[in-house]
């Protein structure tokens, strides 16, 4: 599965979140959630273990509710393909504090590595741009990841979209907390909101 010169997904996510400050990070169903957990548990990590196709919309709701905080959605190509319409919804709302990063291994790694549409034909960067997310790019070096991590702290220039071609090797799972109420309540608490 390994290909030369492709980025390591864990290193990509660790780099994105190394200097996160107050940023909220949403992890899409599957390995993206493990990658965020591997980078270190955090009150502002929002792990998904289901709701395939919903990660970007959760990010949009958060970004609109918390316009002064950076919000980053980190998800996979399969999860993004299922929620492709949400890029059109984001393109219309244009939240300046929202960043979307797709870790693109061109396959459904969690279910046996079946190839996804991005392996051959689907161009998610083109889709995002065509949906009105003009800052839409491919990242292929760690230097570009570092620059993106700095850029996503700027809450006046989003939304932005990045597709990162990553090494398709399946890594050991790093299991995050999977109690949704706990994760939600913890995030709300860090933003100053009490339970009902």
């Amino acid at each position: 599965m390994s290909k030369a010169n492709l980025l390591d997904r864990r290193q990509v996510v660790a780099t994105l979140l190394a200097e996160r400050k107050g940023a909220i990070a949403i992890g899409g169903l599957g390995a993206s959630t493990y990658d965020i957990a591997a980078a270190g548990d955090h009150d502002r990590n929002f792990y998904l273990w289901g709701a395939m196709g919903g990660a970007v919309m959760i990010g949009l709701g958060l970004a609109l509710a918390q316009p002064n905080l950076p919000v980053v959605v980190i998800t996979g190509d399969g999860e993004m393909l299922m929620g492709m319409g949400s890029l059109a919804t984001v393109g219309l709302q244009k939240p300046k504090n929202l960043s979307i990063v797709v870790l693109d291994n061109e396959s459904y790694g969690e279910t046996g590595g079946q190839v996804s549409h991005t392996a051959a034909t689907a161009d998610l960067v083109g889709v995002a741009r065509a949906c009105g997310i003009s800052d839409s790019r491919t990242l292929s070096t760690l230097g570009e990841i570092e620059a993106f991590a700095t850029g996503m702290q700027d809450i006046s220039t989003g939304p932005r979209f990045a597709n990162v071609k990553i090494d398709g090797a399946n890594l050991d799972r790093v299991l995050s907390n999977r109690d949704g109420i706990f994760v939600l309540t913890r995030l709300r608490g860090s933003l100053g909101y009490s339970p009902i």
Binding site: I26, F46, G50, A51, M52, G53, G54, A55, M57, I58, G59, L60, G61, L62, A63, L64, A65, Q66, G83, G85, S86, A88, T89, L92, Q93, G180, I181, L184, L187, R188, L191, G192, Y193, I196
Partner: protein
């Protein structure tokens, strides 16, 4: 997704304004929607209200996920859709149990009460059952005079008790779409 014929009675309907006033009183901020003619008056009020954000969706399930994010960020929302959209939401409705967040949706009904279009009937017939199987409490308003009370109950249990709730606004209330005279 269909425009109903504009009759003077529809234009003068006050129940959409009642709903709007109640949503405002409950400090609803994010209003995702897939348009339906039965929601058009309410959508227009929302789009004209600075404290609310009307958010057009490409498919209704986006709205369920959006409302999770809104609540995680401290805001209440409400999802506006037509009965056919409920079917599009099924898997995403899991989130109402996973997160126990204040989920409220207002569903304009098709496929009942003199429906002309047979394509609306299957989903319209299963709308309430689908919602209930997904764990969503269902309230219904069939007459303009009861909309306010039904909405008050729905908003209270959704926002104050995090009980996922749908209000079905019946085709009898909204007016059957007229295709043929």
């Amino acid at each position: 997704m269909h425009a109903r014929s504009d009759t003077p009675a529809e234009q003068a309907a006050s129940w959409p304004d009642d709903i709007f006033a109640l949503l405002k009183r409950f400090e609803v901020r994010q209003v995702p929607y897939v348009p339906d003619a039965g929601h058009s008056q309410l959508i227009n009020r929302v789009l004209g209200e600075p404290s609310m954000r009307g958010i057009p969706l490409t498919t209704e399930e986006e709205g369920v996920a959006l409302l999770v994010g809104a609540w995680a960020g401290g805001q209440r929302g409400v999802l506006l859709m037509q009965s056919s959209g409920v079917g599009n939401c099924i898997n995403m409705l899991s989130l109402t149990q996973i997160f126990r967040f204040p989920f409220l949706t207002l569903v304009t009904m098709r496929g009942e009460w003199g429906e002309f279009n047979p394509w609306q009937v299957p989903m319209g017939t299963s709308t309430q059952g689908v919602l209930e199987l997904a764990g969503v409490k269902v309230l219904r308003a069939s007459h303009a005079a009861e909309v306010n009370d039904v909405m008050e109950a729905a908003a209270s249990q959704a926002y104050d008790a995090c009980t996922p709730t749908a209000v079905l606004l019946s085709q009898r209330l909204i007016g059957t779409k007229v295709f043929v005279k």
